[in-house]
């Protein structure tokens, strides 16, 4: 799991996570916590835990956390941010939560340019419920509910969320990273940092998608899962910045 180089962030509780070996959620939690510390936001940060394997994010984050209904985190975030504009709201969601049941909430929060950050952990599967097809499951990838592999004609195509929302005017920042190598982890951290800054500056909604392994439901060892991620997921889910309001390609609200 993640290496402890400079000690535990204050925004992280000294708990060992219950995630499976090789899961990407732990790294994503840690990056968020490090940045909450770096920006000195712990007193006004509110994390939103989704319905998914990270439903217990409150066990690990050492700041306020609320658990939303499945897919509704962006609406909950909107309510909190509008009600208490000086709060700092971090919406944390899986692919089922964000891109299936919560699609409407996501798109409308983006469209309104709500001033919060969304961390989107894309592991191409429903982790918590035991490996059903996600909206991001790759063509041909098997799951509990597409045992012969996802078939586009019957089940549609794997959704690229960054590409889908990047042109909505309320979006300040949209980027996709991966946690498969230390270098990529650092890039993800840079993206999240950008999102945090946008939120503080009131520039609109920021989305950081993290392509992440789920060895358990992919039926692979942690090592094999990383190789599979690189060879398959990164083919479909291109890494990069899709929207950056400061880079002259619009955005903000």
């Amino acid at each position: 799991m993640e290496q402890q180089v400079f000690g535990m962030p204050k925004a992280m509780k000294p708990e060992q996570t219950l995630y499976c070996p090789g899961c990407g959620h732990g790294v994503a939690h840690r990056l968020v916590a490090e940045l909450v510390d770096e920006f000195g936001l712990r007193d006004r940060a509110i994390g939103i835990a989704p319905v998914g394997c990270s439903v217990f994010a409150d066990k690990y984050w050492n700041f306020d956390v609320i658990s939303a209904a499945h897919g509704r985190a962006p609406a909950v975030a909107t309510g909190m941010k509008r009600g208490r504009p000086d709060s700092f709201v971090i919406c944390y969601q899986g692919d089922g939560d964000l891109a299936a049941i919560g699609t409407a909430e996501t798109i409308h929060a983006a469209n309104r340019g709500e001033h919060f950050v969304t961390i989107f952990v894309n592991n191409a599967i429903y982790g918590m419920t035991g490996g059903q097809m996600a909206p991001t499951t790759l063509i041909g990838q098997p799951s509990q509910t597409c045992q012969l592999g996802r078939d586009a004609a019957m089940m549609g195509h794997p959704i690229r969320v960054c590409e889908l929302i990047k042109d909505l005017p309320g979006v300040a920042f949209a980027a996709r990273g991966s946690v498969d190598t230390p270098k990529n982890v650092l890039t993800v951290k840079k993206h999240i940092k950008k999102g945090f800054q946008n939120s503080i500056d009131g520039k609109g909604w920021s989305l950081i998608e993290i392509v992440s392994p789920c060895p358990t439901n992919w039926g692979m060892t942690p090592r094999k899962a990383l190789t599979w991620l690189r060879e398959n997921m990164l083919e479909h889910y291109e890494l990069g910045v899709f929207r950056d309001c400061d880079a002259g390609n619009g955005g903000g609200a």
């Binding site: 219950l18 995630y19 499976c20 070996p21 394997c53 982790g127 918590m128 419920t129 035991g130 358990t216 439901n217």
Partner: protein
């Protein structure tokens, strides 16, 4: 009657399979049976357990409140379930992974070096089968032969090599308990 059985161990030891095989064999012997696994959220790697009832009579409640027999594959499961076995009941436990004695003196204990025997057979993963063979032989809940037949149904489609190892492991477990 020794017909309420709990199987327990860590995820990956084939605990649920043990329960299913007992229930399948019970059904094949025209008995009444129910099987109920503990089910959980995705977080893996923890302990697993399941309950099976095999009975000549109708099974009213599928719940096993006080097991007559527990089949214990790892240490934490022994700690957890030793206190709940019925007085006069049976504890079968995997001495390959548990190096303590059973503390209760009102139960009967059968020590099964399940992993060691499975290793000798050539498949560590068949330790659960060793345990099943032992309990079938010792208590006659179902016959060892029926369990072996149940394998063909429950593991239908698995390679013949694995099936042979499983059969062998069951027989070795039975021989141990005979």
């Amino acid at each position: 009657m020794n017909n309420k059985i709990r199987c327990a161990g860590f995820g990956g030891q084939g605990i649920v399979l043990m329960g299913k095989l007992l229930a399948q064999a019970g059904m094949m012997e025209d008995k009444h049976t129910t099987f109920f696994p503990q089910y959980g959220a995705a977080m893996r790697g923890g302990t697993a357990n399941c309950n099976v009832i095999v009975s000549d009579d109708d099974v009213a409640s599928p719940m096993v409140e006080t097991p007559d027999v527990i089949l214990i594959m790892n240490g934490p499961s022994l700690d957890k379930f030793e206190p709940v076995v019925k007085s006069g009941g049976w504890i079968f436990y995997n001495t390959s992974l548990i190096d303590r004695e059973v503390e209760r003196d009102d139960v009967q204990v059968v020590k099964v070096p399940a992993n060691e025997i499975a290793d000798e057979v050539g498949s560590t993963r068949s330790a659960n089968m060793v345990m099943l063979g032992a309990v079938a032989e010792k208590l006659g809940v179902v016959k060892v032969d029926t369990l072996i037949k149940a394998l063909d149904v429950t593991l239908h489609g698995k390679g013949e090599k694995l099936m042979n190892l499983n059969r062998e492991a069951m027989k070795r477990g039975a021989a141990l308990a005979a």
